[in-house]
């Protein structure tokens, strides 16, 4: 479950980002994106611990794509810190989101 734990940390980082990068109060879109994505990542990762929806972490792939797309929407060329943060978080999240929860053992059908 290490990938789920890392995803939750990434989610927390997204929730902290507006304060770390000092977003302006007027930048509502960026606040909203980081807060919505951060909380959704944490919820999906936590829900993955429930046996009946253990594959729901795959939803984090969609969030990863959103974060990357949103970064490009925010700034092509001279990207502001918020966009760079969104891009990096999106790429890292994409990598972790595809890792199965019980990654070190074979999937149940092979056991």
């Amino acid at each position: 479950m290490w990938s789920r734990v890392v995803e939750m940390m990434l989610g927390l980082w997204l929730l902290m980002s507006p304060f770390i990068f000092r977003y302006d109060d007027s930048q509502t879109m960026i606040w909203a994106s980081d807060y919505a994505c951060g909380s959704a990542v944490i919820v999906f990762s936590l829900l993955s611990y429930v046996q009946s929806c253990r594959k729901i972490h795959l939803m984090n792939i969609a969030i990863g794509f959103w974060l990357v797309g949103f970064a490009y929407y925010l700034g092509f060329g001279d990207a502001p810190p918020a966009a760079q943060n969104s891009l990096i978080l999106g790429m890292v999240l994409l990598m972790f989101a595809v890792i199965p929860s019980e990654a070190s053992v074979p999937a149940p059908r092979w056991r």
């Binding site: 990598m95 890792i99 053992v105 092979w110």
Partner: protein
């Protein structure tokens, strides 16, 4: 009595063949998905990750100067070059940070998966292979181009380029086994559906049969069913 024992033993081998976590795939005489094969890749990738991050911190100006024991200020010239600036406009982040994310990916995909992931999760080995091999080679080419086009050399860039090449060498065996296995499944079934399932690690009796011929057991413990580590 003895016959029955032998028969029983044989069936144990047959039965456990597909669950042997240390099975050796063709064409090697070791298991390329074993932990002792993969952990060094992850460690090396993490070293490159930290080096690339450091250069990225300089490009972000979070550190004031870039360390270089051989080429002096040439590292800073490379990191602040027009090529690098152009790449930043495309990637949004400094190119070194992009490299760092790729090295982190090498480590993540190196760690994920069981010791028989070449068969149980081929997609994971292929993603790992794409991250290590083509991306690694592209980064090496870029570093060499830096030297020839920008006209300056960067010691830490060269270190990461060497690490990239070592990673390619260390990772290709597993990717090769995985591709051979997929090719064999294709050759013997000619079914797109089975190929699709095999790629995503879904079980089919046809692919199981191919895998059975594809592996052999390590000599010292032919009947031991190793317990997978979590």
């Amino acid at each position: 009595m003895v016959d029955r024992m032998v028969a029983e033993e044989e069936s144990v081998i047959e039965d456990s063949l597909l669950h042997q976590m240390d099975a050796i795939p063709q064409p090697w005489d070791y298991n390329p998905s074993a932990w002792d094969q993969r952990i060094p890749i992850c460690i090396l990738a993490m070293i490159a990750f930290f080096i690339a991050s450091y250069m990225g911190l300089y490009q972000w100006r979070l550190v004031d100067s870039a360390w270089d024991p051989i080429f002096g200020d040439q590292t800073e010239k490379v990191l602040d070059s027009g090529v690098s600036e152009k790449m930043r406009r495309w990637f949004l982040v400094p190119d070194a940070i992009f490299g760092a994310v790729a090295y982190l990916g090498d480590a993540i995909f190196g760690l994920a998966g069981s010791t028989r992931r070449w068969q149980y999760r081929p997609w994971m080995v292929i993603v790992f292979g794409i991250d290590v091999i083509p991306l690694g080679i592209v980064s090496v080419v870029l570093v060499v181009l830096q030297g020839t086009i920008v006209g300056s050399w960067c010691f830490l860039c060269l270190v990461t380029a060497v690490i990239s090449l070592i990673l390619v060498y260390m990772a290709y065996d597993e990717v090769w086994s995985c591709l051979l296995y997929l090719r064999k499944v294709w050759k013997e079934t000619k079914s797109k559906k089975i190929m699709w399932k095999t790629f995503w690690g879904l079980r089919t009796s046809e692919a199981d049969r191919v895998a059975e011929e594809f592996i052999r057991m390590p000599k010292e413990s032919p009947k031991r069913k190793s317990t997978p580590s979590k």
